[in-house]
Each structure stands twice: as C-alpha cells, then as structure tokens.
Amino acid sequence: MKIAVCVKQVPDTWAEKTLREQDSTLDRESPDGVLNELDEYAVEEALQIAEAHGGEVTVVSMGPARAAETVRKALSMGADAGIHIQDDVLHGSDAIATSAVLAAALADKGFDLIIFGSESTDARMSVIPAMVAERLGVAQLTFAQRVSIAGTDVTIERVTDYGFDTITAAMPAVVSVVEKINEPRYPSFKGIMAAKKKPVETLAVADLGLDAASVGQAAAWSAVEDFAARPPKPAGTIVSDDGDGGARIASYLTEQKFI
C-alpha cells in the first residue's frame, strides 16, 4: 500500500502567536517551529497501517526552508521518504491555494491513502483534507477516531456531534484523524539517525505545473483588513475557600444575574 501523510510545521503550541504588522501573516520566524501536534497522530496512523498491511509512507509538507525539520521529524518516527514543497512565492497562501499545491503534489502518484491530522494548531480551519479530496475527486473520510482496512476498502468512525458515523469507501481515499485514535511514538535514536539518510525531494511551485501567480498572498481569495491584540482581560477576583467558597460564588453569580 502507498500511503502519504501530510504534515505542517506550526509555531510551538505554547508560544505566543502573533500576526506580522507588514502583511498580516502569521509570524513563523520568531517562535520555535514544531510538527503540528495533530499531525503526529496522522504519522502514527500511517505507520501502523503500513506495519499491519505492508506499504510505504511518504511525508508531504508545504512550508518554508525550516519546515525541512518537520519532514525529518516524521521520517525519524519511521516514515520512508519525504516531499517538501518549498517556494518563496507560497508565502501567505490561503487554504484554497494550499490545497491546490498539496493536491498537485499528491496527484498521479498512486497513493492509496492520504492521511492528515484533523486541524493545524495555528490556522485551525480543518478544511484542507476536504479541499484536497474535492480537488483529487477521491473519497473523503475525515475526523476518524478509528481506521480499518479490509482488502481495497477503508472504513472509519467519523466523530460527530451526536456520537459517530461508520463510513466506508474504496481506496484511494483522503483520511483525517482525531487525537483519540492512537498514541504517537517518540522517535528513537536509531530512527533519528536513519532519518538523516532517507530521501527528501524538494519541489518548487513550477515543478508541480502550477502558475506562481495562483498561489501566495496576492492570489488569496480572502484578505485581512486589520487586526488587533485583544486588550488583556482585567484580573479576576480569586479567593481561597474558608468554608464559604461555594456561597461566595453563588453571591458573585447573583450579582452577575445568573441566579
């Protein structure tokens, strides 16, 4: 089986995220970049499927030069090869353009499964897997808390507001996974050493047959008009419980007209 897993480098979860004054894009330089937490589950799921059913896992990432670290991280977990789409013209791309770039990189490579995390911790849109499925014209099996493979069919449990839906499709398919699905492994020392020798192909927008004018901030179909830091919330009242803690909350809620 040929499995692709799409990963993104994002600012460290705990880092303060800010937009840049000059072009309202996310500052990706200052904070440490890490593999998007939710993509770790995607990598783990890809590896588990390859281990159980045989196959090869290719990591695909679009991002600036330093995103190469993120591709290596996934390789050190055990993926076999990487594709890094890196091009200055991509800066400021919206989800529409990002999905076009990923779809171009994934098309016609014979992937049976294309696995994503359910969202990125920076943009939090949760639309890229669906957009890539739309562009490739393949089945969309997203928000999976469980994935199982039987022959050429893949079945997932899609987390819903009311419980879950069991959804099945013939491969190829785009899958996204939620964090309940598995426990991502840590890269071993051996894995880290092996990752250094694994092949990573670096592609530019032109290599994908895309027009540079169709990506990047100028081509985005939505634009930021302005942004501002929300004024910090005034500090609240914190009291310690002297046997009347519950009653004090009740008084506060009465003042605030909740009771």
């Binding site: 639309v127 739309e134 507001d161 179909w221 008009e225 929300r230 803690g245 009771i259």
Partner: protein, 319 residues
C-alpha cells in the same frame, strides 16, 4: 435583494431547528434576503420558525442519497443553488460538517472562505477571534461568492417575521459524493441537558473530579443552573465522561455566557475551546493553576466542598 443561503441544522431526532441556525439567519439579514437550505425530512414543521427568523424561502433537499453519503451531497446541492441564484453569500455553521462543506464549496465555486467568524457586518467584513482569543481579525472575501462559517453563540437570534415557502431541490448527487457511504450512525445517549455548543451556561469537570462518580457533583451543579456539562480531555480519556462532551482544541468550542471550570488546570488545548466564554468561574485546589488567569471569579479549594455548597446555595436562592 440578493439571497443569502444559510445551511440550517436541525436535531436529527426531534427535527427542531438548532438555535445556532437562527443566529445565522439573523446575520444573513444584514447581507441580503435569507434563504434556508434544509437537508433531510421535517422541513414542513420548521416553516413557522424559519419564517419567524426572516427566511423567505427554504430549499429542501430530502432524498436517500443525501443521507447515505457524508458531506459532499450538501456541497452538490449548495453549489447548484449558488450557480442558479448568485447569492450574496453562503453562511454555514462552524461544525465539523459545516467547515468541510464550506471548504469544498469554496474550491468548487471559485470562492473565498472565512471560517469561525464571530460576526459579519453589512459590508461582508467578518470578525474572527484567533490564537485562543488573543487577537481579533477583520477579513473579507475577495473572490467569488463569500462563504462564511460562523461559531454558535456569536450573535443573539432576533425574530424578523416573514412567510417562509418551501421549494424542493434536486437531490441527485455527484459521482464523487458516492465514493464514501455511511453504513451506520451511532447516537450516544444525550440526556435532557441543553446542547453543549448552544448552552448559555456550561459546567465542566476535569481530572480533579477523580472519577465517573465524581461527575454527579458536576451534573448536579449544571442542573441547578440549567447548564450543559463539559469535560476536559483528561476526564474523557479516562472514560469518566463521554467523549462528545470534551471541550477544547480537539473537542467542542463553546462560547457560553458563563463557563464554570472545576478541577481543570487550564491547559492551552482546553482553553482553545472555551476562551471566548463571556464569563469564567474556576474552582481548583492549586492557586497556581493557569485557569485562574482567565477566571473572572475563582475559588482556591476542594471542588468536593465548594461545588456542592454552590449547588445548595443556588437551589436556596432560586426558591
């Protein structure tokens, strides 16, 4: 006046229109003439409420194919309506389905999309609250038909009575929609409490609750306030409370009037799902817990002492 398409969600069992959909109709009126889009059965019973909130038309797509396949049939129906009506905008809820519908529709119709808006003004400028609520962004779609996903509890639903008429639309779905099939729907028991994402008050429990029995303390407080119950991932992962009540980055995003966090430390992933609550009350025995940074009112103490006392007080004051 150009139409504004609103994807209306309704309770699968009762058929009642979700409050969040009435919020979307309220926003839609700022941009044009709201038209509801309804998937599945039960639209006739909803005509009154849709009309009351300003929808002059409801487009009804009710067919087996719409139910049998996930997400894409909604995109098929909406994209046909976009082509036919050239609406001023399409507004869908910020649910998992809603965001995916929005994303695919954007690709298919050559339109820009803005997700997780908390407001939209008459010129189409959307407000988003990003990075855990630390930054407010205003943005606008610059290509095609603007598509927005809007978070629930962002605006108060306001009635604007009109007569709503139903129009049946084709439910023939595309070949790509048929590539995936729903074979079973598993509905977890819901209970009598308000829906988490719509509730005005949410009472949550975390690892500090200590076990599934401990959640009865949380539920009692919730019931005294007519609130929904939420949980941190530590509590859902431990199996103390069902997963669909998880609040946070990978759970539900809630923005109630009041959020009461009990035995929850306030990890960044939890905050991502509740940071836009209008008021936060926290009970935690650790004075250093980060949840207190967000709290309007906090008590440092044992939740098993504080919460039952609070519940008693509320019941006393209510009587």
């Amino acid at each position: 006046m150009a139409k504004v398409l609103v994807l209306v969600e309704h309770d699968a069992a009762s058929g009642s229109v979700k409050k969040a959909s009435l919020e979307l109709l309220t926003l839609a009126r700022r941009l044009g003439d709201p038209a509801a889009v309804w998937f599945g059965a039960g639209s006739t019973a909803a005509l009154t409420v849709l009309g009351e909130y300003g929808a002059s038309t409801v487009y009804v797509a009710d067919g087996d194919d719409v139910k049998a396949h996930p997400v894409v049939p909604m995109v098929d129906v909406l994209s046909a309506l976009v082509a036919e009506l050239s609406p001023a905008a399409v507004i869908v809820p910020s649910s998992a389905d809603g965001k995916e519908v929005a994303g695919r529709l954007a690709v298919r119709t050559g339109s820009g999309v803005i997700t997780d808006a908390v407001d939209i003004d008459a010129s189409g400028v959307a407000t988003q609250s990003v990075f855990g609520g630390s930054t407010v962004v205003h943005s606008k779609v610059t290509s095609g038909t603007p598509i927005y996903t809007v978070r629930s509890n962002s605006v108060a639903p306001e009635p604007a009575p009109t007569t709503c008429t139903a129009q049946t639309v084709s439910t023939e779905v595309s070949a790509v929609a048929k590539t995936a099939t729903v074979v079973e729907r598993t509905v977890a028991s819901k209970g009598g409490r308000p829906e988490l994402t719509e509730a005005a008050v949410v009472v949550s429990g975390g690892r500090g609750v200590g076990g599934s029995e401990g959640f009865s303390v949380i539920e009692k407080l919730a019931d005294s306030l007519g609130a929904a119950v939420g949980a941190s991932r530590a509590a859902t992962d431990a199996g103390w409370y069902p997963h669909q009540y998880q609040v946070g980055q990978t759970g539900k995003t809630v923005s109630p009037q009041l959020y009461i966090a009990n035995g929850i430390s306030g990890a960044i992933q939890h905050r991502a799902g509740m940071q836009t609550s209008k008021m936060v009350v926290a009970v935690n025995k650790d004075a250093e817990a980060p949840i207190f940074e967000l709290a309007d009112f906090g008590v440092v103490g044992d939740l098993f002492e504080v919460v039952p006392q609070l519940t008693d007080e509320i019941e006393k004051r209510a009587n």
